[in-house]
């Protein structure tokens, strides 16, 4: 079970390589719109994050995820933490 803060930290760390230097990763950052990630890149990042928490995220849930916060909330829920 992971808290929202822990999940947020994991998401920020995973997104680090994709963020322009000097730019902060706010919770409202849009993975596609702001960071310019392709759907394939998002899936690759999610796969890495899944291993960090030893969980599997259903693809069915991903269409509802746009922002850093939404991804962290989904992770929290999937890891057995509080539901988003």
């Amino acid at each position: 079970m992971a808290s929202y803060e822990q999940c947020l930290g994991i998401v920020k760390e995973a997104l680090g390589p994709f963020v322009p230097p000097g730019k902060a990763i706010g919770t409202e950052i849009d993975l596609v719109g702001d960071l310019g990630l392709s759907s394939l890149q998002v899936l690759e990042i999610v796969t890495d994050i899944e291993d960090s928490l030893d969980i599997s995220l259903p693809l069915n849930e991903l269409p509802n995820v746009n922002t850093v916060e939404q991804l962290a909330r989904l992770l929290e829920s999937a890891s057995g933490g509080e539901a988003a």
Partner: protein, 404 residues
């Protein structure tokens, strides 16, 4: 965005592609000459992107059988398998495809896409889990979406990742359908089936294997990668297509599980579409026999495949991970890939241009598929035309990584 506004992105892409000349997607073969040659842009062209692995599209007996069925049974069935669209030929083909695979049951669909999509969503429902290889075909992804099941991916051909995800499922692993392909159509790499079946058996999951590109290509009898690796008994369901090695069109699923027969009532793409035309069924029955007896064709196919793979490697191209009938050339720069594709076509070689997101990476692919019917001279010409690309002035950007 308006209802139709989303099409602007396609219009932009099409305009960009047209700025290079011909649109690479939907090239017109003005006249087909043989399994390996056609007239494109008024020029005789070697076809090296057709999936016609055994070169059976002009098999004289298959053509005759098709002509006879066309004359005797008409141009179409005009109905679904579930209504008026099941003729004696459909049942005969199902019996023969079941015998070919040594399975008790077979279902014939109108296309390979509808077979795969239909079986995935017929087998898995709301309370089940679909665990699919990340590089699976669009028909598998679409079947997943329609199924209502929970959809999970494992890393491409990564047995440890598959095992990890089955472990995470706990008791739900027993309600899981694992989906993988034999030969992957884009990079031409093969699934590690022996390790995969061991893992899925240990967790009590079912396996559906798509042998679309591997049927006719692997195995003494051409049954696919599962036959070649001697794991057929551990594969629960096999789906495939008639539109590649068998040279016609249509799809199938075979299994020893009695539930496959009941899938006739559950697979929507079987129920709600017209059945294959009698001429297609008749031709397919002939080419199925050719595949079963096709040891020499397979030997020729593999010889041609290895020759092409070795030639392109020697020329300095970065290719898919292993030799086989699909030889994918990585081109990192999109502009170069498009320019090279045109250059090849203008010099009488047609290959498939594949661009992300249809590729499994951020690179473009110049995808070749080789046939048993290609002559050594044709394979040599394909290699020569590719090698000439590296000798010519290149477009800007990183074009290709030299093979290490």
């Amino acid at each position: 965005m308006s209802l139709l506004g989303k099409f602007q992105a396609f219009a932009d892409l099409r305009d960009e592609l047209l700025s290079h000349g011909t649109l690479p997607f939907g090239v017109v073969t003005e006249k087909i000459l043989s399994p390996t040659e056609g007239i494109v842009h008024g020029r005789k062209t070697i076809l090296a992107g057709t999936n016609n692995y055994l070169g059976l599209t002009f098999d004289a007996d298959a053509v005759k059988a098709g002509q006879r069925a066309l004359a005797e049974e008409g141009t179409g069935t005009t109905g679904s398998r579930m209504a008026n669209g099941t003729y004696a030929g459909h049942l005969a083909l199902e019996k023969e495809i079941a015998e070919f695979f040594n399975r008790r049951h077979a279902l014939v669909f109108t296309t390979g896409f509808s077979a795969t999509m239909g079986m995935v969503c017929a087998l898995a429902g709301r309370d089940d889990v679909l665990l699919i290889d990340a590089d699976c075909h669009a028909s598998i992804y679409d079947g997943c979406r329609l199924s209502g099941a929970e959809i999970l991916r494992f890393r491409h051909n990564d047995v440890a990742d598959l095992e990890k995800r089955l472990r995470r499922l706990g008791e739900r692993a027993a309600n899981t359908l694992v989906v993988t392909e034999g030969l992957y159509s884009m990079l031409g790499d093969q699934a590690p089936l022996e390790a995969m079946v061991e893992v899925k058996d240990r967790y009590g999951a079912c396996l559906l294997l798509d042998e679309a590109h591997s049927m006719g290509v692997f195995g003494n009898r051409g049954r696919g990668l599962a036959e070649a690796l001697d794991v057929e008994d551990e594969v629960d369901f096999v789906v495939g297509t008639f539109s590649k090695s068998l040279g016609s069109i249509g799809g199938f699923c075979v299994s020893n599980r009695p539930e496959l027969e009941l899938s006739r009532f559950a697979a929507r793409s079987y129920i709600f579409t017209a059945s294959p035309t009698p001429s297609i069924v008749a031709s397919t029955r002939v080419t199925l026999q050719r595949v079963a007896e096709g040891q020499e064709l397979r030997a020729q196919l593999w010889e041609n495949s290895r020759r092409l793979y070795a030639g392109l490697t020697e020329a300095g191209f970065r290719l898919g991970p292993e030799p086989g009938p699909v030889v994918a050339v990585f081109v990192d720069c999109q502009e170069t890939a498009i320019a090279w594709w045109h250059d090849l076509l203008e010099n009488g070689v047609y290959v498939n241009l594949v661009m992300p997101p249809a590729t499994p990476s951020t690179s473009c692919l110049l995808r070749c598929s080789i046939s048993a019917a290609h002559t050594p001279e044709q394979v040599g010409h394909i290699v020569d035309r590719f090698a000439a690309l590296l000798a010519e002035p290149q477009a800007t950007g990183a074009a290709v990584t030299k093979a290490g």
